[in-house]
């Protein structure tokens, strides 16, 4: 269960987030729908621990984690531009999280194989990530963010930048993966169809600003 309440973030004089609140139940997929530049990505960064809010509280399973560093939160994030590590191959990218959590080598190998199968990239383990197509990169990014079994997965415009056909196909695949793995997720997007197809609940950005969902 993720609880975000009264988050305020100011960059200089400008308040990017002004009292944003959001509640997500275990296993729920919530889509936050809003225009570009509204501050949705900043909210995800606050939840992930990449930006410290000026005020407000982030709590996971009833425990406040507002001041906890990103690497100790167990909250995964799939970035808009994938942010795959170009110095690592596909398998090493997916194994990165489990390595950081000190899983054993054999369990990491099993997890990588399992996720490669889930995202339809079996046989891609040793590929260089800069040689992958746009759709393949998205799949690796999804597998990588799921690998350490995060308590919550944050998806920042995960299908932006793809052509329409691939975008529509990946919506179905992404939804299936999230449901199969029973992942608690927060998706931010400006695409109404994407939000409706992936999420169990869709909230408007303006509703969050007014005091919570």
């Amino acid at each position: 269960m993720l609880d975000v309440s009264g988050i305020v973030v100011r960059f200089g004089e400008r308040a990017v987030l002004d009292g944003v609140s959001l509640h997500v139940d275990d296993g729920e997929i919530v889509a936050v729908l809003g225009p570009s530049g509204a501050g949705k990505s900043t909210l995800l960064r606050v939840i992930a621990g990449l930006i410290r809010p000026d005020s407000g509280v982030v709590a996971l399973e009833g425990v406040e984690i507002t001041s906890r560093p990103a690497h100790l939160r167990n909250i995964g994030m799939m970035f808009q531009d994938e942010q795959l590590f170009p110095n690592l191959d596909v398998a090493a990218n997916i194994a990165f999280g489990p390595r950081m959590h000190r899983w054993s080598a054999s369990i990491i190998r099993e997890r990588v194989d399992e996720l490669l199968g889930v995202v339809g990239l079996a046989g891609f383990a040793e590929r260089r990530v800069d040689r992958l197509s746009g759709g393949e990169k998205k799949r690796v990014a999804l597998a990588r963010s799921l690998a350490p079994r995060p308590a919550v997965l944050l998806l920042d415009e995960p299908l932006t930048g793809l052509d329409r056909e691939l975008h529509d196909r990946l919506i179905g695949e992404l939804g299936a993966v999230l449901r199969t793995t029973a992942t608690t997720a927060v998706l931010v997007t400006h695409d109404r169809d994407e939000a409706a197809a992936l999420a169990g609940r869709v909230v408007q950005w303006s509703e969050l600003q007014r005091g919570g969902s």
Binding site: F11, G76, F79, N87, F96, M100, D130
Partner: protein, 536 residues
């Protein structure tokens, strides 16, 4: 078919060959021939017996370890300023970038003199003084090469590692450092080359007990008259440097990754970030400013309080009536300025012709480009020594000709001019020439109106850089200089070698003049703007 079509608007072959002829002859006559002659002298000497080495093993060991320590420490010290300047936008950032590049464009003699003025007496003539000066001198290399790479690493890449469970240190070790590896290799290679071939700093700060290989080569050639021994050591140094360059290039290739997009600097948001930016900015200004302030203030210190006497006596070549100073300070200013103008003209003309030829003819250009870059991998003393032993017999007995010195300076400057011009030429869209052709311009006229017209600013920068290199050049000039034609760096070196507070203060005064001249040239030609990290 495509080749045939492209050939329609191509510059005629005779034109390209004519452009390439002068640079090719220049590099063949004044670099390839002297250096080959130097290597041949080494072979003849080896066959004739007699070891040139003696205590050279200790000198090579010292040269190597001080260069390694200088390289490692410069990388460590330079990483944080490089990161802050590449990652954060803040008021005064451009000024700070210019400040970090100041040491790099300063003549090595000025850097040496400034640290003599700054460091306590107990540090003079020590390896640690040399290493500190090398760090000061080379910080700009880290800021430029590593900083440029940092600007293309997306901010979120480290964020991605953090959300996957990596601590800040793990994220730096596993993501940031591997991605920076190619830039770190390049920077390390450049800093090692500069520190290994250190001459001005090593001569002034290392003292006679800590000679680098470069200092020993010059000592043998100019003081002991052992030109053969000096040639052998030069050949050895060329070989060692070639090994380092090959090794570094391999390391750089192995660790190269494709990074797309640019992260660009962003404002410091958190309190910690703002403290880091303020702290690094203050430290950089203090570190660059302290030696320069010390240099200027010591020029007014003649042992008995503050005095203008060092400055007021610069017009005289005597300490007191009948006691000669050994050099004529003001005459050396004139000589330096004359040589700088001649070197700038030669380097700019040759660089312009070469860059145009390289840009218009890929096959011929590649060869010419490689040839013109060779002097960069050769120490200045080696270039001077090659010229000294080559141009010593009729009909090319030019050792006493004044123009040999600016010609040597131009040899070192040409690669920089070529690079500055090529970067502009390569950014000109091919369609511009095509547009000129469709409007009736012949290929030569299209070239004149499109390419040549775009080169004004980089030509000015190239001329300025050449003049700055010439003003500060010390290694080749030490070998080629003749009495009565001393340049500023030579005069400063001589004065610092004399006993007494007055000659020393005069040396600091002249180093201040050289500092001012170099700064004016650099600022006027806009070179400092080309040396900062790339803005996204």
């Amino acid at each position: 078919m495509d080749n045939h079509r492209a050939a329609l608007n191509r510059l005629p072959r005779w034109f390209v060959v004519t452009l390439a002829a002068a640079p090719a002859l220049f590099i063949a006559g004044f670099y390839a021939w002297p250096v080959t002659n130097l290597l041949w002298t080494t072979v003849r000497r080896a066959n004739g017996g007699g070891s040139p080495f003696g205590h050279v093993g200790a000198i090579i060991w010292f040269t190597t370890w001080q260069a390694v320590v200088s390289t490692v420490l410069t990388l460590l010290v330079g990483l944080l300023p490089a990161y802050v300047l590449a990652r954060y936008s803040f008021r005064g950032r451009r000024v700070l970038v210019a400040v970090t590049t100041v040491p790099f464009v300063l003549p090595t003699v000025v850097v040496g003199a400034a640290f003599l003025a700054l460091l306590p007496q107990s540090w003079h003539g020590s390896a640690r003084a040399m290493i500190v000066a090398h760090i000061f001198f080379n910080i700009a290399v880290v800021v430029r090469l590593v900083g440029s790479m940092i600007t293309v690493i997306p901010h979120d890449l480290v964020g991605a590692a953090r959300t996957l469970g990596a601590s800040p240190i793990q994220a730096a070790r596993l993501v940031l450092i591997p991605l920076l590896a190619p830039a770190l290799w390049s920077a390390a290679a450049v800093i090692f080359l500069f520190s290994f071939t250190s001459f001005g700093v090593a001569t002034l700060l290392g003292g006679p007990t800590n000679p680098t290989l470069e200092v020993e080569i010059a000592r043998r050639a100019t003081q002991l008259g052992d030109v053969g021994g000096a040639a052998t050591l030069s050949a050895l140094q060329l070989g060692l440097l070639a090994v380092v360059v090959v090794w570094a290039t391999r390391g750089q290739r192995r660790s190269a990754f494709e990074l797309k997009g640019a992260a660009g600097p962003r404002p410091a948001r958190t309190r910690g970030e703002r403290v880091m930016v303020a702290g690094v900015s203050t430290a950089v200004v203090l570190a660059v400013g302290a030696p320069i302030v010390a240099l200027v203030s010591r020029s007014f210190d003649v042992g008995n309080g503050w005095s203008m006497s060092a400055w007021s006596k610069l017009g005289s070549a005597q300490i007191r009536p009948g006691v000669g100073l050994g050099v004529d300070p003001l005459a050396s200013v004139g000589a330096s300025l004359r040589f700088a103008v001649v070197a700038a003209v030669i380097a700019t003309v040759i660089g312009f012709l070469a860059a145009t030829a390289i840009n218009t003819s890929p096959r011929l250009g590649k060869l010419l480009d490689a040839g013109l870059m060779l002097p960069l991998g050769t120490s200045a003393v080696t270039i001077g020594l090659g010229m000294l032993i080559t141009f010593d017999t009729a009909p090319v007995d030019w050792r006493a000709r004044w123009w040999l010195i600016p010609l040597g300076h131009a040899l070192v400057a040409v690669p920089f001019v070529v690079r500055a011009l090529l970067s502009v030429l390569r950014s000109i869209p091919g369609d511009l020439r095509a547009a000129a052709a469709t409007l009736g311009a012949t290929p030569v006229r299209a070239w004149w109106h499109v390419d040549a017209a775009a080169l004004r600013a980089p030509l000015l920068a190239g001329a300025g850089f050449s003049a700055a290199i010439s003003l500060g050049e010390f290694g080749a000039t030490t070998i080629l200089t003749r009495s009565g034609r001393e340049t500023l760096p030579i005069a400063i070196g001589r004065l610092l070698g004399r006993a007494g507070a007055l000659p020393r203060a005069q040396a600091f005064a002249m180093a201040t003049i050289l500092l001012a001249l170099s700064t004016v040239v650099v600022m006027a030609s806009g070179i400092h703007e080309r040396l900062g990290p790339d803005d996204a």
